[in-house]
């Protein structure tokens, strides 16, 4: 997936001189995951800038760059290092357009690795998308394949408003796929149905699509037909697609890596409990990270929901 992300950067920088890449080690080093590899050589040090080691700086300078003619695409090295940038994101980036009644705006993309599962050090495996999704005025996007990473990143850069772009680290290298470098964006604000099914709807996103699709295959062998929906844009949520699916299947399981308590899964469950209650034939199930700190890597796969947990949750739902 990491090559797809580099390609999307390259395409858009080629076609829009105002797109500028900033972040720690994005220049000569091409990013710690190589998502910006080769860009500085190609576009120069003004358009591909290593920033000082300061996340508030990355977000805050993005605001100033974006309000004054540029389209910054910023990398935060890991999601666990996003927090110093939140003040600028919440208090300014998300509300610049609103608070100036449209006079100034922030076409910014902030990209960051998301989640765990690659034996990384402490603080390198966070999935705190909730903190972003709750903030009005920004979009939160999380691709689940190289092709979707390419198309959604292009859409994010072209969007006139701020987009937080979460890149699942488990997919960076694990997932290889030929990507057509044709500059075609995918739509934001809509889900992708990865697998059609009739017995149960499973909504998930990012790296958890892997375990979920695997579970769906195994469930299929056992005679349970699961529809798998990739949320893709985590905020705002395309609830219509989900409701339509639940209307068809009557059952809903939500799978995410983030901690369960006030996770994005809660919002999906709440929306369905409000608007699709009478379609539900069984209680909604959430399969999520525990409400604990993401552990160091010896236990990370005991934290991240596995295929079996998903299967058990679906079977429980279908037993009802």
């Amino acid at each position: 997936m990491v090559e797809a992300i580099a390609l999307a950067h390259g395409w858009e920088m080629q076609h829009d001189v105002n797109v500028v890449v900033i972040g720690q080690d994005v220049g000569a080093n091409g990013g710690v995951f190589r998502a910006t590899a080769g860009l500085q050589e190609r576009f120069g040090v003004d358009r591909v800038q290593d920033t000082p080691l300061a996340e508030a700086t990355i977000a805050g300078m993005s605001v100033g760059m974006a309000t004054h003619g540029l389209k910054p695409v910023a990398e935060i090295q890991f999601m666990g290092f996003l927090y110093p940038a939140l003040d600028q994101i919440v208090n300014h980036m998300s509300r610049m357009r609103n608070r100036t009644r449209g006079r100034l705006s922030c076409p910014v993309v902030i990209r960051m690795p998301h989640g765990g599962g690659i034996h990384a050090p402490e603080h390198h495996s966070e999935s705190t998308e909730t903190m972003l999704c709750h903030i009005p005025g920004i979009r939160v996007v999380c691709p689940s394949s190289p092709a979707r990473a390419y198309g959604l990143l292009l859409a994010a850069i072209r969007d006139p408003d701020p987009v937080m772009f979460l890149e699942p680290v488990r997919l960076y290298r694990a997932m290889r796929q030929e990507v057509n470098d044709d500059g075609r964006a995918l739509p934001l604000d809509v889900c992708f149905i990865l697998r059609e099914g009739s017995d149960v709807t499973i909504v998930t996103w990012g790296a958890m699509t892997i375990e979920t699709l695997r579970a769906a295959t195994l469930l299929g062998e056992r005679g349970i037909s699961a529809e798998v929906i990739d949320l893709a844009t985590l905020s705002p949520i395309d609830i219509e697609t989900i409701l339509a699916s639940v209307a068809k299947t009557g059952r809903l399981v939500i799978v995410h890596e983030a901690a369960r308590n006030v996770g994005v899964g809660a919002e999906i469950a709440a929306l369905v409990a409000e608007r699709g209650l009478y379609d539900l034939q069984a209680p909604i199930q959430r399969v999520a990270g525990f409400d604990t700190i993401m552990p160091l890597f010896k236990l990370e796969h005991d934290y991240i929901p596995g295929v079996q947990r998903i299967i058990d949750a679906v079977e429980l739902t279908c037993a009802d």
Partner: protein, 360 residues
């Protein structure tokens, strides 16, 4: 031990408290028309400010942060900037803003609780007021980065308070500006207080200008009650920045003659004598004395000016008070370039429960 680096902080002053010259007049101040223009603007700010406080006291305005005592800093900076430069104010910099074209009506509209006040007709590219302390310094640096990348000969100027210099963001902005030689000037308005905290409790630094040393950029102190010195020092820094000479940090020493805001009662934490003393060196007094000494100003002119200012303020207040309450749609219509699907329903809901009929 080997000496490896050395730094000096200087202080600039042109006018003494009595309007006397303590240094040579800068070029711009040889033109008495220009001086009068600055003095008139300073007076306009003070008249407006008093009225705004009064509007708050009478329930016609929200919490308001008076800029009483900051007029020389504000107008000196306003006069030093070019129209195409970009200002990143905190919340108190009405003087500079008025000079640059923000209207009194806009100021009142914002502090009266309506975002429309941020939609300046002029200057379109300036940042809006910035309440989260120090965050604006990075916006200015970012705008300067945009000017640099896009090769536009413009500068950004960010204000910050003495208290604001304690926020990490401030140092990050200085450091970024230094590391990338950005065309941005930071001005600390050191008015002695951050709400109830005096500057000596805020930091052990003897001067705030020396914070520039951490970023390897020039730092200088200026008498912030001396409009000549402020304009001179800021103008110099802006010109250097515009020519590619990089950023600067300027500490303007002044005093907050008012409460922190209309929600504050400064008598709880600061002594009356200190305020009394500060009035002796306040900024209007000294330029007025200079003008009187120079024979270009007198009581009659002063009286006329005050009346003229009051008329303008009254007109702005009337315009402000006549503005209708914003419609609830305003909460939705500027959130994104176009409203996402899920918000249409909420927009309808807001209309339904609008506390007063709002035109829908």
């Amino acid at each position: 031990m080997k000496l490896v680096a050395e730094f000096k902080i200087h202080h600039r002053q042109v006018l003494g408290p009595g309007g006397d010259l303590v240094a040579a007049l800068p070029e711009f101040a040889r033109d008495s028309g220009e001086i009068l223009r600055m003095y008139r603007a300073m007076t306009q700010v003070r008249v407006f400010d008093a009225k705004a406080v009064n509007l708050q006291r009478t329930g016609q305005l929200g919490t308001y942060p008076s800029c009483l005592g900051h007029e020389a800093a504000h107008i000196g900076i306003g006069a030093a900037m070019r129209a195409e430069d970009v200002l990143a104010p905190v919340y108190r910099e009405f003087g500079t803003q008025l000079w640059r074209g923000v209207t009194m009506t806009e100021i009142l509209t914002y502090w009266g609780g309506d975002e429309c006040g941020n939609d300046f007709a002029v200057p379109r590219d300036d940042f809006a007021w910035c309440v989260p302390i120090a965050t604006q310094t990075l916006h200015a640096a970012g705008a300067a980065m945009a000017f640099k990348v896009r090769k536009e000969p413009r500068c950004a100027l960010a204000y910050i308070g003495d208290g604001g210099t304690s926020e990490g963001t401030f140092y990050e902005a200085l450091n970024l500006a230094g590391a990338r030689a950005l065309p941005v000037v930071f001005v600390i308005v050191n008015n002695g207080w951050a709400i109830s905290v005096p500057v000596a409790a805020q930091t052990a630094a003897q001067t705030l200008a020396q914070k520039a040393v951490a970023a390897g950029i020039p730092g200088v102190q200026v008498d912030g009650n001396d409009v000549f010195a402020v304009r001179d020092v800021v103008g110099e820094a802006l010109e250097r920045a515009r020519r590619g000479g990089g950023p600067a940090l300027i500490e303007a020493l002044t005093y907050r003659l008012s409460d922190h805001t209309t929600a504050d009662d400064a008598s709880r934490y600061r002594c009356a004598q200190e305020v009394k003393d500060a009035w002796k060196v306040e900024p209007l007094l000294r330029i007025r004395s200079f003008l009187v000494n120079a024979g270009v100003w007198d009581d009659a002119k002063e009286q006329a000016l005050l009346e003229e200012c009051a008329v303008k303020v009254d007109a702005a207040v009337s315009e402000y008070l006549a503005r209708p309450k914003p419609v609830t749609d305003a909460m939705f219509d500027h959130l994104f370039a176009s409203l996402p699907a899920h918000l249409h329903e909420q927009r309808r809901l807001a209309r339904k429960y609008a506390s007063k009929p709002s035109g829908h």
